[in-house]
């Protein structure tokens, strides 16, 4: 691989109390590419995703071993978690805009990071909505309640809210699983343009989606990383039999 490595995961093991969710996962994630994490329910892919921006810290009783190096820094070592989450943003499965106006939703991140100048905020909001391909639909409704938007618009609003804090890496946890096909295709188009500026890691259950949008695919099973590599290789020439079975729909 010729691209620079953005995240280097080294022998990551994670347990919720007695339950081990991830076992010795090691993987490199390249900058400006879309990496898809696939696997059956409970295979640990979401846990893996959440450990990248330390969202698992919020759950009590989590034990983590191993290292995740972000641009060479161990995020579980000497690292400011606020700064980390600002750099590594996350998009959730279900669109979850705040019950505020469209504008306030997008401006939330910049505001908590101390941006209070109205003109600057407006610039950030407009730019973020443009990048999230939502601007044309909401430019007249910035002061309208965000919960009045459609489901697909809400999810793109969440992307705009994420982009407004200028992240470097975007983690997506099944971002289109609750959306209709048209909204899904809009999100997928968006991902393609996003990878030019950001590193994207996406968890998906939709294998077609993974094959359409990702450059790299990683297959998880039972908390272990079975296989990771170029998406074409994973889908058309998997090395591991379990990967092949999953791709062909024999289980999961």
């Amino acid at each position: 691989m010729d691209r620079p490595v953005k995240l280097k995961v080294h022998q990551l093991t994670l347990a919720y109390g007695a339950l081990t969710a991830l076992r010795n996962v090691s993987m490199d994630i390249c900058a400006n590419r879309v990496t898809a994490l696939i696997g059956p329910n409970g295979c640990g892919k979401t846990t893996f995703l959440r450990s990248i921006n330390r969202m698992n810290d919020l759950i009590s009783g989590v034990k983590i071993h191993g290292r995740i190096l972000y641009d060479g820094t161990d995020i579980y070592g000497d690292c400011d978690v606020i700064e980390l989450r600002k750099r590594i943003g996350m998009l959730f499965q279900k669109a979850n805009p705040f019950p505020m106006t469209v504008f306030d939703n997008v401006a939330y991140g910049p505001r908590v990071h101390g941006q209070t100048k109205k003109a600057d905020l407006e610039g950030i909001v407009v730019e973020s909505l443009r990048r999230a391909a939502l601007w044309d639909e909401v430019k007249d409704r910035l002061r309208a309640p965000a919960l009045g938007l459609s489901g697909g618009q809400q999810q793109r609003l969440c992307i705009a809210r994420l982009l407004a804090v200028e992240p470097d890496v975007i983690l997506m946890d099944e971002p289109s699983s609750a959306l209709d096909p048209i909204s899904t295709s809009k999100i997928e188009d968006l991902m393609d343009s996003l990878k030019r500026r950001y590193t994207v890691i996406i968890v998906t259950h939709n294998l077609q989606q993974a094959s359409r949008i990702s450059d790299t695919t990683a297959f998880f099973l039972g908390g272990e990383l079975i296989e990771a590599g170029d998406t074409r290789d994973i889908f058309f020439a998997p090395q591991d039999r379990r990967t092949q079975d999953y791709i062909l729909g024999r289980f999961g």
Partner: protein, 555 residues
């Protein structure tokens, strides 16, 4: 609600389901109608009695009177009572006229809700005549309130009464007939009293003939009622005692009840003067008669009941200060005191309550201590308010020496409403979805930022609803405040100053029998304020919850 019959289910099943559905709908509708009915009756009653003064009053005289007051036998000379036209009184019972003229009532407040001193003027030309008037209006042993108002002639009485606010005077009725005077108006006086034999009003088989109405009097006089039983009295035949036709009382009865002359029914006992009237009535079984109130023995009088309907609440009630213990004037200072009390109580209780609720749900770690705390809060919420009053009196007033006043009252009230605010705020904070907290953290917000900017903001409609609940309780609270905030109805001039709120005012008006009309007017003001606050806050909640209804539609 047309439902297709499922081919899988037996038709009896769907029939039963439909019957159950219908029964549930009927039950729900009945509950809704019942609730709105109760609400309507309560509000309607308060608002009706607040705006209309509708009272049953008892008087020692009948409900009909004349402008012309005969003052004795012979050629029936008569006088007229006149008042300054600013006085809102058009009619007086003989006892009220007596009290006004003799000083028993020195202010119009009790009669017209006007805070005006009573001033008496009368002509002092013919001593004999004015003595006859005194005896007719005041009775034999009562004197004029003062002789300062004695003027040389009737014309000067009329002009003084027209000039002085709250003035009352009498003049010979012929003085009014000459030219219609300006600035004064004649007052109708109800002079006749019904007197009866002692057995009539005695308690009989557990019942008592307590009060008559004008229509009963007319029926008695015309002979239509022959036995006291039909009026709820004892089984005793009615015996009418009537003055002979020369007496003015006889012609007045004819004029008031029969539109001409009155012919007493057969068997009536004729009498010729007040002395024999009283003696005959008291010594004849079942006897009843009408005579001038000033001639009657107090023990013989049958009370008369009548319904008086008038306008009650006026704009001035909101704008005027209460006077004479609230009998006169409005409630302006009390409204201000109430608002001040509510603002202070909320200023104390909201920050503490919301902070406590937030701490309990968002930050508190020690489950056991939290559950003990929560149990305490819930128990406090159920404690009767009077206990908080007593506690506030002992702790704030006595031990902390804050005195009975605004500060002690609002502190006691704060203790009372805090549990309500904590519990409702806790529910509101808990109901904020975890996902919103998570996304805030994922955007790099701190715990504090997340709590303030997301959790409290999203919970604000629920928190506000709790505050309204508390506000309603505080606004309606009298028990707590009686011991701690006092009952001074003037505007407060400091945190230690005693202050009366609307609810306390209402309680005192009723308890001290000051005025039921004012009590209902006060209740109306209280209801209006609470409803206005509720309405305003509901609008605010609608704006704060920014499209969460649309959100619900989209799932």
């Amino acid at each position: 609600m047309e439902q297709k019959t499922s081919p899988v289910l037996p038709s009896s099943f769907t029939r039963r389901a439909r019957a159950r559905d219908r029964a549930l709908r009927v039950a729900l509708w009945s509950a809704a109608v019942l609730t709105m009915g109760i609400l309507g009756v309560i509000l309607g009653f308060i608002l009706y009695r607040g705006t209309v003064s509708d009272n049953q009053r008892q008087y020692p005289v009948i409900g009909k009177g004349t402008d012309r007051i005969p003052i004795g036998p012979g050629e029936h000379p008569a006088v007229a009572l006149i008042v300054n036209s600013g006085v809102r009184v058009t009619e007086l019972a003989a006892n009220e006229a007596r009290d006004l003229l003799s000083g028993g009532l020195s202010n119009w407040g009790n009669l017209s809700s006007q805070d005006l001193p009573v001033r008496l003027y009368f002509p002092d030309t013919n001593h004999e005549f004015s003595e006859a008037v005194r005896r007719a209006l005041l009775g034999p042993d009562t004197e004029w309130v003062s002789r300062d108002g004695a003027l040389p002639d009737a014309q000067s009485v009329i002009s003084r009464v027209a000039a002085v606010r709250g003035a009352i005077g009498w003049v010979p009725d012929v003085a009014l007939a000459v030219n219609a005077p300006r600035g004064v108006k004649p007052v109708t006086v109800r002079t006749l009293a019904v007197i009866a034999a002692p057995q009539v009003s005695a308690i009989h088989e557990g019942r008592q003939l307590s009060a008559l109405r004008d229509e009963n009097v007319a029926a008695l006089l015309s002979g239509a009622i022959t036995n006291w039983k039909s009026l709820g009295g004892p089984d005793l035949p009615v015996r009418i005692v009537a003055y002979d036709s020369a007496r003015w009382e006889r012609s007045l009865i004819g004029q008031l009840f029969f539109g001409g002359a009155w012919m007493p029914p057969a068997g009536a006992i004729p009498v010729s003067d007040p002395g024999s009237m009283k003696w005959t009535v008291s010594s004849t079984a079942g006897a009843v008669g009408l005579c001038a109130w000033t001639d009657a023995e107090p023990g013989q009088i049958l009370l008369m009941q009548r319904r008086e309907v008038d306008r009650n609440l006026a704009l001035s009630f909101f704008l005027e200060e209460p006077r004479r213990a609230g009998r006169v004037g409005g409630v302006s200072t009390i409204i201000l005191n109430t608002i001040l009390m509510l603002v202070l109580t909320l200023a104390f209780s909201t920050p503490i309550g919301v902070a406590a609720a937030t701490y309990l749900t968002e930050y508190a770690r020690h489950e056991k201590i939290v559950s003990v705390l929560r149990f305490g809060v819930e128990t406090l919420a159920g404690i009767p308010s009077i206990i908080f009053g007593l506690f506030g009196f002992i702790v704030f007033v006595t031990i902390l020496r804050l005195g009975i006043g605004l500060l002690s009252g609002t502190l006691a009230l704060t203790l009372m409403v805090l549990p309500t605010i904590i519990r409702t705020s806790e529910e509101a904070v808990k109901s904020v979805p975890l996902s919103l907290r998570e996304v805030s953290f994922a955007l790099g917000a701190t715990k504090w930022q997340t709590t303030v900017r997301v959790v409290l903001r999203c919970a604000s409609p629920g928190i506000l609803a709790g505050i309204i609940l508390a506000l309603g309780r505080a606004a309606g609270e009298a028990a707590v405040l009686l011991f701690t905030m006092g009952t001074d109805y003037r505007l407060v001039d400091g945190l230690r100053s005693s202050a009366r709120t609307l609810a306390v005012h209402l309680y005192l008006l009723v308890k001290e029998g000051t005025s039921f009309d004012k009590a209902f007017a006060t209740a109306t003001v209280l209801v209006i304020i609470v409803l206005a606050v509720n309405f305003a806050t509901t609008r605010l909640i609608g704006r704060l919850s920014l499209g969460s209804r649309e959100g619900a539609r989209h799932g």
